[in-house]
Symmetry: C2
Subunit: 301 residues, 2 copies
């Protein structure tokens, strides 16, 4: 079976794995990124980690997922807030020249979406829109198993979608941006205001109160479920996907809000769009497995 | 030069043309659709119109644009409000079997967007989002010169995008749907309320008042320009296009609102997305020329 190298290049850790065409992780390495030692140090580390994988030379290609928007054609990050020094650095080219293997770079959200589209809940679907609700909210548009990165690497930056103009200004995102209304961070902020700093450490505390039928918690969850439904309706009228796949840490509270999201969503779209499917993300390791799927997707016709 | 047949199959008229690969209309036919005489009558008419074109047999393929969502793989309309009887009718297959030429069917908005992407303002661009502001508001997503139709043929049904939840309910579209806030119909409705039934016949009357610096007209145009900017920002965060191409009858008032739209838009996106281009639609006959581009686009690799 064909093997690929997947790399999850984060601000804290770098993970490198050999992954087979079915998405099984055969061998894995993990080391701290140590970005403070500079880009050269990090690049040498990645090369060394790949070379420590058994039979790495037999792999068909290499894929990297990185935190931030990228230019996939150039194999460069366009913005590298969590990997200072790597903005504009020819990451993919340097690895490709060292190993003489086709090497692909993508945003980590897009990589996770690609993994879900090829191996997870989106298997066999034409248009997959992947949404991750975590500290922030991000997305990925995968059409026929290819990532739509966008002109400036910003396709899927759905955290900035305006779901309601009449909200408070929170940060540099748009007023009423979904990330400020329904992400884990946003839910924590809103719940703290209602229940106090002590009672709420994270969104999970809000969900627990909702499970206990606290009325204020239920109202906040209802608002969040409606906001997310509006966001999904915005995406749907733009690209009309076969399936929405929802992942991210906030999905740990899915028992409280997920059905409400879908129910609201179906009131916000045309009748003809009702066949769309809703699914939860399935992959345990979307970052590294999705990265390995980049060469698989782009080397096939 | 390669020639193609383009067909604009509307509720009122059918137009058939021979179009060259540069988008020049070489020969054209136009007849009333006469849908009251049934689908067979209309299909026979289309076939006869094609056969009346000089050297039609030398054309490489046939493309049809139709009003409503389609299943392009099946070559069928999914909803045929303006062509009763044609819902689910194998239009493309029947024409293909008669002429033994590859035949493609698409929604008329998508066809116009494809024309603009291949021959018009979007020439050479990777991701083109075409927006038409007319009686209604519609769009088309063209990626690498292929139409993204969507799972249910509803990609680009952007008229239903919510730009502000806090508006009045107008019809079966979403509350605050852009089509009810900024289309020609919507502008006429809103302007009539302010200036009276007599003063306003169509959106052009509002634009004329704005040109004369009427304050209430300017305020309404400002609102419209902001609403459209919000709509474009929603599209941009989903697919991050290279270019927005705006067409449709309301663009006759572009001197009054178009710059305002772009200025507002640029405050509603991430810095990294600023390179996006704004353009006006260029094709004089996007419907029929775009239809002829369907076989050209899909027969090429």
């Amino acid at each position: 079976m064909d093997m690929f190298i997947g790399i999850d290049m984060g601000g804290t850790n770098i993970r490198v794995a050999k992954v087979d065409a079915n998405g099984n992780i055969i061998q894995q390495r993990k080391e701290p990124t140590e970005i403070v030692h500079g880009t050269k140090h990090v690049m040498q580390k990645i090369i060394r980690m790949i070379e420590s994988i058994d039979d790495y030379a037999e792999c068909k290609g290499i894929g990297l997922g990185v935190p931030g928007p990228v230019d996939p054609a150039e194999g460069k990050m366009l913005l590298a807030t969590n990997l200072p020094g790597f903005e504009g650095y020819p990451i993919a080219k340097e690895i490709e020249q060292h190993f003489h293997k086709p090497t692909f770079l993508e945003n980590d959200g897009n990589v996770a979406g690609l993994g879900e589209a090829i191996l997870g809940a989106g298997k066999g679907k034409g248009i997959v829109y992947y949404v991750t609700i975590s500290t922030g909210i991000g997305g990925a548009c995968i059409i026929h198993q290819k990532v739509v990165s966008g002109k400036n690497g910003h396709a899927g930056e759905i955290g900035n979608l305006i779901v309601d103009r009449n909200r408070e200004k929170v940060n540099n995102l748009n007023i009423g941006a979904i990330e400020n209304e329904a992400s884990g961070t946003a839910l924590t902020r809103k719940a703290k205001k209602i229940f106090g700093e002590e009672a709420i450490q994270h969104a999970g505390d809000l969900f627990q109160l909702a499970r206990e039928k606290d009325e204020k918690a239920l109202a906040l969850v209802d608002e969040m479920a409606y906001d997310i439904a509006v966001m999904l309706s915005l995406i749907a009228h733009v690209v009309d996907p076969d399936i929405f796949i929802i992942g991210g840490g906030v999905m740990q509270g899915k028992d409280v809000f997920f059905e409400k999201v879908e129910k609201n969503y179906r009131t916000l779209i045309h009748n003809g769009m009702q066949p769309v499917l809703f699914a939860q993300a399935e992959l345990e390791e979307p970052g590294i497995v999705g990265a390995a799927m980049l060469p698989m997707a782009y080397l096939s016709k």
